[in-house]
Structures are given as structure tokens and as C-alpha cells.
Amino acid sequence: MTNNWKKLSISTVVLIIMIAVPMIIDLGTGIMNQLVTLFIYILLAEGWNLIGGYTGQINLGMAAFFGCSVMVTHFMWVAGIPIIVSILVGSLSTIILAIIIGIPTLRLKGMYFAVGTLALAQALQVIMQNVFNRSIAAPGNFVQAYNLSYRYYLGLAAVVLVLVAVYFIRRSKLGLAMVSIRDDEQAAQVTGVNTFKYKVISLLISAFIAGLAGGLYAYFRLFFYYTSDIFSLTWTFSAIMAVVIGGGGTLLGPVLGSIFLVILGYIFSLTLGQANLIVFGFLFIVVMLFMPQGFMGGADLFRPWLSRWRKKPGPKKSEAAEPANN
């Protein structure tokens, strides 16, 4: 129980820092931009993690949900609807896509879901390329009224909400079902779990979270040069990257992975230029092969060391007191 209070207090402290610091210090647009980008990545990663990390269904079409929400949010917002409503509508619109692709594919075992989501993302990208063969920009007055802090706090709020939601989902019947599906779908079915229903629910929530990311992006960036870039595979890859590096199937893994991604991306864009994507791909493969649990899994390797270092007598006692983190 003390473990949970510790985690809660650390989280609250972090949250307070994140709320207060930008109010007190001027971090500058550069850093603020990176932070908002970080929030977007965290949302995408947490979304992917829900269907991919917890439920074990590999989604190759995150970009479809993301892009769809960006478009819907943008047009609603530009039409005059308040941003928060626009984002919510944008996120809800992704659920339609999720239903279209999820219902036929989640029923079947094997690669159908992966193929289906990939096909959906590619199809949407192609459609966008043809239908919106131009840039999209928000009108001038939106540019004038732009306040980066709003984006920051909205992003922060979204991230906190999603993290809290995922935390409770993990501990709910849904969460249990999801993990059982990932570990052994057949066994889950035999124990009476309606695997199809839970896979679909998990996908819908995951799509909604991706939609939040998209909505935030629409609020963040007012100008899209190539509309099809919004539906680019890069978004999907970044989400998967963040989850794999940070640790799939954990609450904080996607957060860690996203932080890693943003920091590394920043360093690479200064030094390597185009080659940075190659390095990411290489890193991704290496992590998958040698550290499949990501950083969070790596933390398990450090824990016995840490506890032995902190409490000298009775190292066994502290190991026994640490329940499984998932």
C-alpha cells in the first residue's frame, strides 16, 4: 500500500511541476513546442499500447485514426466550434473508422487485423492525396490568436486524463480481459471471455486516444502543407517505436518511450539530418531483439540492485514486497 502512495505522491509532484513551471519561467517557444509534441506522442503511444501492448493486437494503422481526427477537428474548429468540442468530435469520428476496420478483422486470428489497419491507413492517405490535393491552413485570425501555453495545458490535461483512464482500465475487468487475450486468446475464450467484444472495445478506446492526439495536433499546427502527411506511416511507426522502447503493456512505458523519442529526435535532427530515421529503425530492431520488454522491463533488471543498495539488511524482504508492476 505504501508503494502506491509513493507512486501517487511522485506523480502529483511531477504534475505540479509541469503545471507551475511554465507559468513561472518562460521556457521559450522551442522547448514549449517540443513539450506539446511530446504530449502528442505520449497520447499516440498510450493509444497504441492499449490495443497493441495490453491486448496484443498489432495495429499498423494508427495514422488513420490520427489523421482522421486532425481533419475533423481542424474543420470543426475553423468553422467556429470551440476547440475542446472539436477535439472531442474529432476523437469520436475515429471510432467510426475503428468500427469499420475492427469488426471484420478482429473476429479472425492471424494477421488480418494488422493487414486491415495498414490497408485502411494507406487507403486514407491515398484518398486524402487526391481529395485534398493542396495545403490546409487555418484562417489568419486563428494565427493571430495563437497562444502556445493553451496548447501546452490542453495537452497536459489530455495526457493526465488518458494516463488516469488507462490506469483504471488496467485494473478493471476490461483490463484483465485484454491481458488474457494477449497472453493466450484461446485460453481466454475457453474461460468464457468474449474476446471479440473486448478486442473491439479496446480498439475503440485506443482509436479515441489517438483521436485526442490528432485533435491536439490540429490545435497545435494550423498549417498543413501536404495533407497526406497527416496520414503518413511515420505516425504509426513513432507510436510503435515509443511503446517498444519504453515497454509495452505498462502504463509508463509509452511515456518513457515518447520522451526518449523526442529527445533523441531533437539530437538527431541537429546532427544526423536524414539519417536519424535510419538510426531509429536500427534502434527499434535492436531493442526488440535484446530488450523486448523495453525500458520498463529493463527496470526489472535494476530493481534487485536498487533494493540491495538501499536497504542493507535483508535484501530478500524487499524483493518479496515488490508485487508485479503490470
Binding site: I58, M111, G281, L289
Partner: protein
Amino acid sequence: MENVLQVILVGILVGGLYGLVALGFALINGVMRFINIAQGSFIVLGGFICYWIVTLLHIDPYLAIPMVMAAMFIVGIILYRSLFSPLLKYPKAEMRLDKSLLLTFGVVWMLDNLEILFWTSNSRSIITSYGFGTVQVLGAALSYTGLIGLGLAVLAAAVLHIVLTRTYFGKHVRAATEDAGAASLSGVNVQRTYLISTGIAVALAGLAGTVIVTSYSVTPGGGISWLLTAMVVVTLAGPGNMNFMIPAGIILGVIQSASTLFVNPAYQQPIALIIFLLIIMFRPQGLFSKGVKGL
């Protein structure tokens, strides 16, 4: 009427290529239960290798095929050694599926961006002296390159079929596909069988790349598009039905081609998506399967 015939015949030519594109993917998926998301990127790589061989050595692209396939075979060996064989420790098919999917996704990332780095993101294609020639069939014009492509596809599928049914190696492959453990106990070196199969699958990607670079063009990053085609064809054909890849490809090709009569030709991918959804909703075992199981 002529228009319809043209569209159908073109669809058949393209469909043959689609079947070829699917062959390598289906081989890896069928034999080892891995998903090679990078298959499309390997096809593009094959096209680029062909392009550079032709540009530097000034030989006919079709003569370059053995070189391209040999090079790609080696790429396949590297792929197996580095990424696939570590996955063999997972006995469950789902784990292999998921892990191979993610790993090869990473390969796509590396490969596509390496290609952009070395060769810029421009498309390349090879124009031969006969490249623009066409044959008139019943009032429809069929390109030489398209016909050669179809011919190569059918040839590759036929050779693969013969190898799988008449050679020792082929029987080892089929045995390992049905029950890898039992094959091992019967004396089959399953790992080596898998290794060579992967090499063959990637070599087939190289062949497809050659056809594509002569008939159309290759672009870094265009691999995913070809991968999608492969996946849809495999779904159409049904699981493990290597014999029906070309027919399934042709069906996809004809439907896509016919769709251009009604819809902007740019929308080929959404059409493929619709076909995919229809198949899995109404006949998930594929068009040519007798059983009811899925992939």
C-alpha cells in the same frame, strides 16, 4: 466494348505481377508463420539493384535478373540469420506473427530511409528500347513489358511449384510447414530449410522488383504499397495455397483495372481495401480454399 477488353487484359497483366509480388510473402508466411512487412521494401530494393546494374553495366534488365536474384537471396539469408532465427524460440504461432511483424516493420524503416539517403527519394525506372512497344490482341494494346512480366510471374510460380512437389528440398519445406517438430524428428534440418526458403522468398522479391522497375517505376517508401498488394492477394488465395497466388493476383488485377472505368485510377488502394474487407467478411478462407480456417 474495346475499352472493357483493354481494361480486362491489362488487369490480367498487372495481376500476374501481383501474384509474383505475393509469392515471396506467402512463402515466408506459410512455411515459417512469419509476416515479412519488409517484403515490399525488398521488392523496391530489388528494383533499385536492377536499375543500378543496368545503369552501370549497360545490360538488358532481364539479363540482370540472375544477378538481382542472387543478391537478394543473400539479403534473405541475412534477414533470416539476424531477425528470423531468434524468433524460432517462440513456439506459439501468434508470438512469431507479432514479433516478426514488428521486427520487419523496423526493417522497412531502416531500408526505406537508407534508400532515400543513398539514392534520393526520386523514382527510378528503366526504359528499354522495346519498352514502349505493344502487341495488339483483339483490338487491345498489351505492352511488351507487361507481357514479359506476366510470363516471368507464371514461370516463377511454376518453378516454385515444381520445386515444392518434386524435389527433396521442396518436400522438406512442405514437411516443415505441416509439422516442424515431426520433420526434425524425421531427419530434416529445419533451420537450414527455413534459411533457404527465406532466401528464395527475398529472391522472388528481387524478381518482382525487376519487373516493376521495367514496367512502372520504383520509389523509396513505395514498398508498403506493394506489401499491401501481397497481403490482399494472399488473403484472396486462401492460407497456404501457393498454387493459387497467380490466379488470385489476376483477380485482384482485373477488379482494380475494371474499377478504373468508374473511378479515378488513383484510388487503387481503397479498392484493394474494399476487396480485402469483403473477402474476410464473406469468405475468410479465401477464394480457393476448401477448408474454413483463416490465416
